[in-house]
Amino acid sequence: MKKILFGLLLVSGLLASQLGMAAADLEINTPAISALQNSMQNRHGQLASFYTSGAIGLTKDGLIAVKDASAVPLKDRQSLNALVAAENADRNKLYKEIAAANAHPEWEAEIRSTFAQRWVQKAQSGWYYQDASGWVKR
């Protein structure tokens, strides 16, 4: 029994050391990433009510999209579109910057899909997100 336990320990130790490299934190503290984070955080104050009303939702590719603009008064639809466009520009830059900051520009697509999942996971209930079948309420 002890032997088996020891063996398992050894193996897990081996694995941990293997994974040690991969488990290291990703670099996200660059000025470009903070600038984007800041800009998105400021914008979120304006976007939050649009998520709640279902006017916008989270897409499969880590962006946001107008889901139902009719949930928004006419006069706000133009700014809604502008906000969505600006948010998506920032998100696209963010994924690219994170990949670049970690010296792996080819990771952009995987970072994007990781984010896509996490945005949805962390979304408040009532917000909409897109899956293979279309818009789904969380």
Partner: protein
């Protein structure tokens, strides 16, 4: 056309059941004509009401179902129509109701329809329709008007929507041989419209148009769109209706108020450019000539325009410009402004003349006065390639005094001159690249910036890359400027692979050391303390503090500090390495002072924090 129907005649009541399996009507008139024929036959009998209902009517463009027509026959007959209609491609049916007072003389008769309504889940258009004429001497000559009352329209995605629309649409169309002569006016009295990407908050706009329709070609002349508070647009041209192709169009906007036109018309179109969040005012006039859906010529005039970015990235005041453009012949463009600002740098009165040749702009020289100097751009050429601007030019900076420039850039005031000669500056894919050197004469020394590239300078993630070489900087000037303890001597610095993101350093290999040569080398007690403080807990002056106090300044042999910045960590070294650390200041004579650094790695944020504390604490007594 196949239909089956049954007519049941009772004393006062007649019912017609028509089952239309598939009536493929070319002209709707056939159907109406048929109804009239029925009515004509019936009127011979003593009938007071006629109802016609059809389950379904199919037409190449639309379908109708549950069609109910009821005609009440008296002196002024009333036709009641209730039906569900939809365009062929649509899924949802719309309810259409209307009550019309019908003149008995069909040829010249008046139709006066009230309580009309067209309704779906997203659309609700209440309307009144008046047809005051259908024919003149047997020739179709329609005069009709529709009045909309608080109409509402919205598409599924909500990208095109109209609310509370009240207005009139008048049409007059007359057949003349093969052609139709038409004219129309739209009076938009009230209502809010969002038609992506445009939004108009209120009414008061008018559209009038007149023209001809013949052989698939819609010609319009003296067409005028008057937008309240914005200006007037005059149009004439020809549109092919089968594929909506603009055969030709002449548009003229003689005087547009930019303050109101910018948010309405230009801001939505400039959403992806640097001009998407600005305030603008002034007058604009524009003429455009389009042929075969392509712009052939345009002529843009800007009159005393002020443009200011809301994020304070740029501004131009008293901008006047004449920008003609032609697909076929090169044109001369002129542009001037009285003053401006670009990334906090003040711009003086500037005049630009350039030649525009289709998608390329060239000019031999542009002089941009900046403070007491100027930026001279020569051999400028820009071209639009694959939907993106690419340009290159030669740049020279006529000496600008650093004292003024540093103040306007909100930097500590520095004496000296900035000048540059860059043989080639190129802009491609959002990136500015320089081939050549920018030279700054600062602190009695020479600073050379080379390999400068700039990405997204006006965006939210600007990036700068450069190599900087500084020679013979006067340490006295330098330490006074940055409120560091006084050091006398000269300094060389090499900053290679400098990378700024959002104007903050993320990468560099910096080496600072005393310049070679003979000159006085003295360091004050305060500077020694400050350098020690920079090292944090790990660094200390290698002399007794008690001894240090006796002397105001010390001689030194050399000063040097290297910092290699990677991932927010500065890897430090000095002029010499020792077993425990590295030497930053190597003393000379008596008393010899040696400043040592022990921390080989220091967090960049820590280092900047310490530096700020040092210069802040030093600058306070100076202000007093």
């Amino acid at each position: 056309m196949s239909l089956s129907y049954a007519i049941v005649v009772t004393d006062t009541y007649l019912q017609v059941f028509i089952h239309l399996k598939a009536i493929l009507m070319q002209p709707l008139a056939k159907w109406i004509g048929f109804c009239w024929l029925m009515l004509a036959c019936i009127s011979a009998h003593a009938v007071s009401q006629v109802s016609i209902s059809a389950d379904r009517i199919e037409h190449p463009q639309f379908d109708a179902q549950q069609v109910k027509l009821a005609l009440t026959l008296n002196k002024s007959p009333i036709l009641q129509i209730k039906t569900q209609v939809k365009a062929k491609a649509d899924k949802d049916w719309a309810q259409l109701n209307v009550n019309c007072q019908v003149s008995t003389k069909i040829q010249t008769g008046r139709w006066d329809c009230t309580q009309g309504q067209f309704k779906t889940s997203r659309i609700d258009i209440p309307f009144d329709l008046q047809i005051s004429r259908l024919y003149t001497q047997g020739v179709p000559d329609v005069i009709a008007g529709i009045h909309f009352k608080n109409a509402k329209y919205g598409d599924e995605a909500g990208l095109h929507a109209i609310e509370q629309f009240t207005g009139d649409l008048n049409i007059n169309a007359k057949q003349q041989g093969e052609a139709w002569l038409w004219q129309t006016t739209v009076d938009w009295q009230k209502g809010e419209v969002f038609w992506q990407p445009f939004y108009v908050a209120e009414g008061g706009h008018k559209f009038t148009a007149k023209g001809r329709y013949e052989n698939d070609l819609l010609s319009f002349d003296t067409t005028r769109l008057t937008m309240a508070k914005v200006g007037e647009l005059a149009l004439e041209g020809q549109l092919r209706t089968s594929d909506l192709k603009l055969i030709n169009l002449k548009a003229n906007l003689p005087s547009l108020n930019l303050a109101t036109a910018y948010p309405l018309l230009f801001k939505p179109l400039l959403e992806k450019t640097a001009f998407n969040n600005a305030e603008m005012e002034g007058k604009v006039s524009l003429k455009v000539d389009i042929q075969d859906s392509e712009v052939k010529t345009f002529d843009l005039l800007l009159n005393d325009v002020n443009v200011a970015d809301n994020n304070q990235k740029f501004a131009f005041y008293k901008l006047n410009a004449h920008i003609p453009w032609s697909y076929d012949t090169p044109q001369n463009v002129s542009l001037n402004y009285e003053s401006g600002e670009l990334l906090d740098m003040p711009l003086g009165n500037t005049a630009v003349k350039a030649e525009v040749n289709r998608y390329a702009v060239t000019t031999p020289n542009i002089r941009l006065p900046i403070l007491d100097g100027a930026l001279n751009l020569s051999d400028v050429s820009a071209a639009r390639v694959g939907g993106q601007w690419v340009w290159h030019l030669r740049a020279e900076i006529e000496p600008i005094s650093m004292a003024e420039l540093s103040t306007s850039l909100k930097l500590p005031r520095m004496e000296g001159l900035a000048s540059a000669a860059i043989p080639l500056v190129t802009y491609n894919n959002g990136k500015v690249t320089t081939d050549g050197n920018i030279q700054l004469k600062l602190f009695n020394g020479v600073t050379t910036i080379s390999q400068l590239t700039l990405q997204d300078p006006l965006g939210n993630t600007p990036k700068l890359n450069a190599d900087i070489i500084m020679r013979n900087l006067d340490l006295g000037d330098l330490t006074r400027t940055f409120s560091f303890g006084a050091i006398e001597g000269k300094l060389d610095a090499d900053i290679a692979n400098l990378q700024l993101q959002n104007w903050k350093p993320v990468n560099f290999d910096a080496a600072i050391k005393s310049s070679p040569g003979k000159y006085p080398k003295k360091i004050s007690q305060r500077a020694v303390e400050n350098i020690s403080a920079l090292g944090g807990a790990g660094a200390a002056a290698a002399v007794q503090r008690s001894v240090l106090r006796f002397f105001e300044e010390f001689n030194y042999e050399k000063i040097g500090l290297n910092c290699k910045l990677r991932n927010d960590i500065c890897y430090m070294s000095g002029v010499e390495s020792t077993a425990q650390g590295y030497v930053i200041v190597k003393g000379r004579g008596i008393p010899a002072i040696t400043v040592m650094g022990y921390n080989q790695t220091v967090g960049w944020a820590d280092l900047i924090g310490r530096l700020k504390r040092v210069t802040d604490s030093n600058s306070k007594p100076i202000i007093k």
